[in-house]
Structures are given as C-alpha cells and as structure tokens.
Symmetry: C2
Subunit: 188 residues, 2 copies
DNA sequence: TCAACCTGGATGATGTGTCAACTATTCCCG
DNA sequence: CGGGAATAGTTGACACATCATCCAGGTTGA
C-alpha cells in the first residue's frame, strides 16, 4: 500500500499515509471532473468560458465597471501576461473595452461593454444552478463548513511564507519577502 | 472569484446560500492556487509536467509497463485526442514509445522507456513531499476524512446519471469504478 | 460476401496558460 | 534637472486542451 512501486526510495521520502493517499486521489479526480464539467456547462449554456466569467464577475463587482488591468490580475490571482492575453481575446469578441488611464500613462482601464453585461447575466444563473446541483446538494451543512475550512487552511499555506514567492509577482501589495527560496514549499 | 451576488436576479434563480457562497469561493481559490503550485513545483524540480506524471504513473502501475492508448485515456479520464496529442509530445521527448498491437491492427501500445522511468522516479518523491506539506500537514485526521468523503460524493454525482453523458465518450465501460486501490503514489 | 457501422487512434485548427523578453511611463533620489 | 530603478502592460514562442474530422481496421448482419 505504501507505494511499493517506487522501491528506490533510499532517501527517507515520507510518502502519504494510506488514508491521505485515498483522500488525495479522491480529491484530484473530483476536482478534475468538476472543472471539466463546469467549463463544459458554461460554454454549452452561454457564449462565454469560465475564465471570461471570472473576469466579468470582477467587472460587475466594481461600482464603475472599470478596473485597472493589474488590479484585475491581482484579484483573480492571475499572471499579468495571462490577463493581458485574455483581455485581448475578450476585447476582440466585444465583451470588454479598454480605455486609457489619464492619471497614469502606462496603464489602462478595462470596461464592461453592454455585450459583456448581457453575456454574464445570461450565464450566471445556470452556473449557480450547476454548482448547487453538483456540489452543495450533495453536502450536509457540516460538510460545507468543512470544505470551507479545509480550503482556507490550504489556501493560507499556499499564500504565506516561502510559497508565496512566485505568486508575489502580481501580488505586489503583499509585503512578503520575494526571496528566491526555491526547493519551494517542501516544508521546512 | 465566481458568482458574487448579482443584484439583477429577478428571475427565480436559486443562488447559493451565504455559507455555500463562502465555501465555494474558498474552494475555487484554493484549488486554483494548488494546481498552479503543484505544476510549478513539478516542472521546477524535474523534467516533466503534471500531465506527464499522470501518464507515467499509469504506466508504472501496469505489470509490463505497456498499455493501450484508449485504456490510458479511460483511466485518466482524458479525451482520446488529448491523450493522443500528449503521447506524441512525450514520445518526441523520449519518455514513452509506441508499439504496434498485433491482435488489433487499429491500436497501439504505449511503452515506458528507460528515460521515462528515470523521469518519474526523480519526480515522485518531491511531489509527494509537496502534497504532504501543502495539504496534509494542514489538516486533522477528521478533515482528511471529510475531504475524501466530500470529494467522493461530488465525484459520484459527476459520474452518474445525465452528468456522465459527455464523459461517457471515453468512459464507455463501467459506470462507477471507484478507486481500485492500486496505490499509485500521489498521481494526478 | 459485401456494405453499413463501430472503434482505436491521429490530425489540424483554434483557444488558452506560461515564461521570458520587451516597451513605455513613472518614481526616486542625488 | 537627469538617470537608474520600479511599474503597467504587451508580445511572441511554446506547451497544452478541446473540438471536429478523418481514416484504417474490425464487426455485424442480410
């Protein structure tokens, strides 16, 4: 059970415990299927992808419906090149529009267009229904709580200390050390 | 990140409860960061990607380290074109090799090469360490149990009934196939 | 036996994510 | 003021996933 497949572990590699093994496998499979399903549902029921949706949500969340590009990147935890490429594609499809930023000549705003607004308004209800049907209808209140707790713990681990080093590229407002610190996160 | 509250919901859409909302946001963020981190760690510490790793694990799990292409697709829950493209890239890099299948002229076997073997042997320990450090070191035994339970429930929902319709493309046989305990390390 | 169909798998187009390099502006400090 | 560093954002190359389509080899049945 303990990974007899890799007998070469002369080194004291601490493999996962059997229960951890099972939990991990279950999680990985679930997460993969769930992502795939949500993506498929979204692009079947509407004209946008999950990524588009995430961007549009951020825009509708903003009073002005206009947001600086890097701010978008930070709130989505995306890399700046990713947001840049993605916005270019969304702009080509008319979902958003760029506007120059007068107060800072380097930057630009992203603005929600009417098409973008109607796209997300069309997509959101079905998405919420799907999430509820696939996830929350399966879980007790305690399990929902546990899911949040677990997710927060892992997320915290991921975004604090050495682990945050790479993320720090776009997470600049985080005062954490940008120490190179590779070997990354394999515990101290 | 997704599905904030949309004030325009006149329609009878059942949005998520506030606690569900919070759990969902926490999960989505965690899952995104975790995937990103695991991928980065894997390609930093070794010559392979998470996808390569998943393929190689399947191959090492097989007695004679040769497997039919579509069988691979099914066990990974990948589409056949995805596995085909991916194998082409892996073959180009020397990680696997194809062999003709004498019993069925259409098909072919995928075989683990020496390079492939050493690649996974090099990658596996660090990956296991990372998963342990990022996930399981943060969780109590009860939480590990809850994670498995939750994942299994959602996964079951995803792979039974109408939901399975699309997946069924490659999942033709066997509706449930819940983790057969072949102990394949921390595969993806 | 032969035509219709099914299956295993490859291919090309397109959309997406990542990394590294780049440009242009602004900031900081002497 | 002026010059280097930081910042905002783009671009190009490449890896990857998905979809539709194609094709060769098997299977079925009249």
């Amino acid at each position: 059970m303990m990974c007899q497949l890799f007998p070469y572990a002369e080194q004291v590699t601490r493999w996962l415990e059997p229960e951890q093994q099972r939990a991990w496998r279950a999680y990985v499979r679930m997460q993969g299927e769930l992502n795939a399903h949500l993506s498929r549902q979204m692009s079947a029921d509407s004209e946008i992808s999950m990524a588009d949706f995430a961007v549009l949500v951020q825009l509708t969340d903003t009073p002005d419906e206009r947001v600086r590009v890097l701010e978008l990147a930070r709130s989505l935890h995306w890399e700046k090149s990713r947001i840049s490429h993605h916005l270019a594609r969304m702009e080509k499809r008319g979902l958003v529009r760029r506007e120059i930023c007068r107060s800072d000549g380097r930057g630009s705003f992203v603005v929600l267009t009417e098409l973008g607004r109607s796209a997300i308004e069309e997509a959101a209800p079905a998405h919420a229904e799907t999430v509820r049907a696939l996830v929350f209808d399966q879980l007790s209140d305690d399990e929902v709580d546990a899911l949040r707790e677990i997710s927060e713990k892992v997320f915290t681990r991921l975004t604090t200390g050495e682990c945050a080093s790479v993320i720090a590229r776009c997470d600049a407002d985080d005062p954490m050390e940008v120490v190179s610190e590779e070997g990354g996160c394999t515990e101290a």
